[in-house]
Symmetry: C2
Subunit: 392 residues, 2 copies
């Protein structure tokens, strides 16, 4: 079974059943994507609902043929498939396995397992783009106040070299992307449709700018339509791919508050920008702040960074994106890496002291990090390697 077979199977599976479907993810985990696809297509899916869904889908086409066509189409328009077997896979989305939304009854709130694959437009490696990222989400019908705040947040986060992640909608999403782009930063738009036909059309120019330096990302094959439930399915990815989610404006119980609920369910920092109590667009955020003590009020970029920059936080992103995903490092190597300052060099003793490890361990881990091109020796000391973008 080749890697290509596995990739094709992941695409076909995502087409057969909406991303997030728990029984499909579990099956892939147990027997791999190729066998899982075979099983589903043979009509022997473990669950009745899944068998029915697969059968219904089968009427409109052959899953393998659809997947092969999607891969060809993706190649033609410069969209690549990224799977968990690729280096650039963002490992943190696996946390979705642990997501349980309280009182969930709707399909979109229950079927929230990790993605099987991503379609990506843009040159930046996906995992690196998301390693140090903050989601900024909110209402389409944003007020001028909300749009202003989202723009400022996008700008400030990008200015501090954080990736801004959002959907592609009008209002808060677009304002956050624009702010980041204005700062010369890179942003990631996670879409609920194919990356070749980003929705809404009115943001077409914005999508083009995003794809130039940042990324357009989707779980759905090129050409896929932005069906209504897909926005909520997509929201779990925005929450899980980032180090924290900021809600800028939202009506009561709206889609944007759902993204924040997913961040809360993942125990990621969930932040809310308050607003005038006289504004309907602030009701959703204020509700979350009243109902969920874990949600934090933020009023500035500094407040956001305080939340997402916290050390010791579950799945915390590295201080800067390493060339290889940091989750490959063991704990001591991570500590050593985090002990290195951004601009200066440190001698071995200082590294060991800051990392809280003994000299031998520090030396061993530094050698390994040097080997991985994450650390360089300079002026008789150790320093963080410059980020890939700086290497000419």
């Amino acid at each position: 079974m080749s890697a290509d077979d596995r990739r094709l199977a992941r695409v076909a599976l995502t087409w057969l059943a909406e991303p997030g479907t728990r029984s499909v993810f579990a099956l892939v985990e147990r027997i791999g994507p190729v066998a899982a696809l075979d099983l589903l297509l043979s009509g022997e899916a473990p669950e009745r609902a899944l068998r029915a869904a697969v059968a219904a889908r089968g009427v409109s086409g052959d899953a393998r043929a659809v997947a092969a066509a999607a891969l060809a189409r993706g190649e033609r328009l410069g969209a690549r498939l990224v799977t968990p077997e690729d280096d650039e896979w963002p490992a943190q989305v696996r946390d979705l396995r642990r997501l349980a939304l309280s009182g969930a009854t709707r399909r979109v709130d229950v079927e929230t397992d990790p993605p099987l694959c991503f379609w990506v437009r843009g040159a930046w490696p996906l995992g690196e783009a998301l390693a140090r990222s903050v989601a900024v989400v909110g209402a389409r019908a944003a007020t001028p106040y909300g749009a202003h705040v989202a723009t400022e947040l996008g700008y400030g986060l990008a200015d501090r070299e954080w990736t801004v992640v959002s959907g592609g909608a009008f209002g808060i999403d677009a304002a956050a992307h624009r702010g980041a782009l204005t700062a010369g930063g890179r942003t990631v738009a996670v879409l609920a449709c194919g990356v070749d036909r980003p929705y809404p059309m009115g943001n077409a120019a914005l999508f083009d700018r995003i794809a130039e330096t940042g990324l357009l990302v989707s779980e759905w094959i090129p050409g896929a339509e932005p069906l209504r439930p897909r926005f909520l399915i997509r929201n779990r990815v925005i929450a899980a791919a980032t180090s924290g989610t900021v809600l800028v404006e939202a009506a009561a119980r709206s889609g944007a508050t759902q993204t924040l609920n997913r961040a809360l369910g993942l125990h990621r920092p969930a932040m809310v920008v308050p607003g005038p109590v006289t504004s309907a667009m602030s009701v959703g955020g204020h509700e979350v702040l009243r109902d969920r003590p874990e949600a934090r009020l933020v009023a500035s970029v500094a407040h956001v960074l305080e939340e997402v920059g916290r050390i010791g936080y579950d799945l915390a992103p590295p201080a800067r994106a390493p060339e290889r995903p940091r989750d490959r490092l063991d704990e001591e190597a991570t500590q050593v890496l985090e002990a290195l300052p951004r601009r200066r060099t440190l001698d071995l003793e200082s590294v060991a002291a800051r990392a809280g490890v003994d000299l031998r361990t520090a030396m061993r881990k530094l050698s390994m990090l040097e080997e991985l091109a994450m650390v360089v020796r300079r002026d008789g000391g150790y320093a963080l390697a410059p980020p890939p973008a700086d290497r000419t």
Copy 2:
């Protein structure tokens, strides 16, 4: 020693040392106001700082003569003295004994003991006015947004028969009073100067309207000036006299946030109305919401009532103001009283069931409450007595 001696001594003591001084309050508790005054005037105050303060004050007049003149002046202009020996004393201010502000170093943050007396202008009994009251505080330099919200809160609280309590300042204070008056409600202004010369002059017409139906209250003798520290000394009373404090707008670390800190220190509901993060006048409130998890975000009158109306809350006000202070009732009598609905009658069994006491206890407590004119028998059942205002 007559009651008049004790009253005069309380006034003289408040003149000799600023209200809240812990050593003075402790002395009055131990040996009574008359002996405490004698001790202070004899130069034998227990603390060096207090001896110095009393000596310094002594230069500008004779404490007993000043107090006697103040009582005469008060009588002339219709301001009465209220002391803990009076029926209308608001017993809840005694909680100030337990107030400890974390990290307090300034005199106004340390010397926060209960008042020795109040000067009151207005016909309403003080304890009754404050039994069901909410403080609405905030910045002098309020924005139109803040003034709007304070007016709405004042209106809504008064409309639901809660007393609005605030200072007398421009901005939020005035807006809250105006809102309550517009609703036909009664408000209480707690001043940092004599009740005969409410500050600022620009609010003179407002103060007259407040005194007509509500109350002007101060710890300082008629004629006293609004010295700067007195605003903070006064703020402890606003927090302690009410069932909860709402902060509408405040700059960072301003006087209004200090009132909220005192409410927090007293474990009373401390509420903050959020605002645009782009407004300097919202910074203080947002800071409190970020730093103090006990502080609650409120966006409406309903949210405020949810906080202050909580049953089981320490020193909770009665559902409506009884003729006698409710703190004279034992726990079972309070439960029985709270079990009675506002407009209907209940039979004995239902009262007992709702109060969670046995029939015998219910009957005994109901008889006592009837004796106290807090409960009436009607249509073969029991009902809350109508409030004093309704009795013609």
